[in-house]
């Protein structure tokens, strides 16, 4: 691994992994607590439409992805607010429509498109230096938004009804939240690919929430875990010559299952607190 760091692309990959972990830990924790994993999956896949649009228009696919996934996120967020009964069905449809339009837009684009698979399955090693600056900027934006609206994000995640009675603008907070997911998704797609974004977004946070009883600490722990998984995954993929995105996800998945088993064990060995309500 050390000798690998002589390569610029490897250094970039490590930096990208660390940067993505911040978004992952902070946004992922909120996604897990608000139980909007499915919605996040929808945003991640619909973002592919933005990649297609970027190629079609001849602009940076990253820009296309940011715009498109923000729009898709707002659309899905509104659906969830307005049509609660069948929200999951509508989100499922938007998920597929987003992806399909990406594929069709790419069909309509002539020229060399070898880069495509890297958006689907991740290709952290091919991340250009400019990408790192984008990630840094998006991270700062995410951190600023979460810090500014932390008390509202926490209150609406814990008890939305009570927040409404306090006149918290819960709908605006919800839409800001899906916007944050869109930004995180765009950052992560280069690292693990759109298809697996949802796993890296949720697994470190799910582990953190099992062990830490404070949201800010959970965000911090999730960030650390995510960094650990990305680095461990990268190292494994380098030494065993495996696909980096999938290796990262498998590392995270094994850790998640271990944590799940350990926390069950802990609960079984030390029964305390109230009986189930």
């Amino acid at each position: 691994m050390i000798e690998a760091l002589q390569f610029g692309f490897m250094r970039n990959a490590l930096l990208a992994g660390l940067l993505v972990s911040v978004a992952c830990g902070v946004v992922g924790t909120l996604v897990v607590l608000r139980r909007i994993v499915f919605l996040s999956g929808g945003i991640a896949h619909a973002a592919y439409g933005g990649i297609g649009l970027g190629f079609y228009l001849g602009i940076d696919p990253l820009l296309g992805a940011i715009g498109f996934s923000l729009l898709a996120a707002l659309g899905m967020g509104l659906v969830e607010l307005r049509a609660r009964q069948r929200a999951d069905t509508v989100i499922g449809a938007m998920w597929a429509i987003g992806m399909a339009s990406g594929i069709i837009l790419l069909d309509l684009t002539s020229g060399y498109k070898a880069d495509l698979m890297s958006y689907l399955f991740g290709s952290i090693l091919a991340a250009p230096g400019s990408y790192l600056w984008w990630m840094l900027g998006l991270n700062l934006l995410i951190l600023a938004l979460v810090a500014l609206f932390f008390k509202e994000l926490l209150a609406t995640s814990y008890d939305e009804t009570f927040a409404i009675t306090r006149n918290v603008p819960v709908e605006a907070i919800h839409l800001a939240m899906v916007g944050l997911i869109a930004l995180a998704v765009v950052m992560m797609m280069r690292v693990v690919g759109l298809i697996m974004v949802i796993a890296l977004l949720t697994m470190p946070a799910a582990i953190a929430v099992q062990w830490v009883k404070n949201v800010k600490w959970a965000m911090l722990l999730a960030t650390g875990l995510s960094a650990l998984f990305v680095l461990a995954g990268l190292w494994l993929s380098y030494s065993l010559n495996l696909t980096s995105g999938a290796t990262i996800i498998l590392v995270a998945g094994v850790a998640y299952l271990l944590s799940l088993a350990l926390s069950r064990l802990r609960r079984a060995s030390a029964p305390r607190g109230a009986p189930a309500a």
């Binding site: 008390k151 209150a155 927040a163 603008p169 830490v212 959970a218």
Partner: protein, 263 residues
């Protein structure tokens, strides 16, 4: 002594109807609640107690009639209304402490982009002290018992510094210790604010209740508990799960009978 009713009521419902999916849950309900009154809403499950509380919070809009709180619209006035919900769904793993939950009562007082202040902290501390939950403040909310959590939720509502306190079934699912604390606290609080609580069993708190409202889609009785018709007074002593076989309520006894008694 019942508090005076010569000033403007804090809560006024006029001919209010409410429905879920077109089926009426409340019909033609009118009532007034004055400052420092302790009001108990009773009646069978599905009788509309929770619905009425939702109307008072603006969580539900009446299909007909008018709800006025502090002389104005609910959405504006609810900043001064404290609310203790009936616990239904709850994520035990949610990483939040009792203190953080109680502090959410300060949300409406600190708008967007404004952090909680030391003054908020002092108010939350006092509210937790009053409900006997201050010693729980560092504990994760999910590790508390039902009664401990209920006290934290009452502290959260008191942290609002409300003029009106609404409690939905505050005495169900709590241990005897919490029940005793809450039963002692409510009469004390009613000397400072108006309180509307829904409850299956008003038993021990009854001597302190100024108005009792019997809801079964319609408000079959609203007035001092002592003057309630016998069929309704009978239900005061009913166990938590009101069950018509062992404890016939006015409705199973025949509504006409109640109407007669009310006339």
């Amino acid at each position: 002594m019942s508090p005076p009713e010569d000033r403007a009521p804090l809560i006024a419902l006029r001919d209010v109807w409410a429905a879920y999916d077109q089926s009426d849950v409340l019909e033609n309900v009118s009532l007034e609640v004055y400052d420092r009154q302790l009001v108990a809403l009773i009646g069978p499950n599905g009788g509309g107690k929770t619905t009425l509380i939702k109307l008072l919070l603006g969580l539900l809009t009446p299909t007909r009639g008018q709800v006025s709180i502090l002389g104005g619209r609910v959405e504006r006035a609810r900043a001064q209304v404290g609310y203790v919900p009936q616990e239904i769904r709850f994520d035990r793993e949610f990483p939040v402490s009792a203190w953080e939950v109680a502090r959410m009562g300060r949300l409406g007082r600190r708008g967007l982009l404004r952090p909680y202040t030391a003054q908020d902290g002092a108010i939350v501390e006092e509210a937790m002290e009053r409900t006997g939950s201050l010693h729980l403040r560092h504990r994760p909310i999910g590790e508390l018992s039902g009664g401990e959590r209920q006290r934290v939720y009452i502290a959260r509502a008191l942290a609002v510094q409300p003029r009106i306190l609404l409690l939905d079934e505050p005495l169900s699912n709590v241990d005897p210790e919490a029940r005793a604390i809450i039963q002692a606290l409510l009469p004390e609080l009613s000397q400072q604010m108006a309180i509307v609580m829904s409850s299956h069993d008003v038993g021990a708190i009854l001597p302190h209740v100024h108005r009792v409202g019997y809801l079964h889609q319609r408000l079959l009785y609203y007035g001092p508990p002592q003057q309630a018709p016998e069929t309704i007074r009978h239900t005061f002593r009913c166990p938590v799960d009101m069950d018509c076989e062992h404890c016939p309520c006015p409705v199973c006894a025949g509504e006409e009978h109640v109407q007669e008694a009310l006339a």
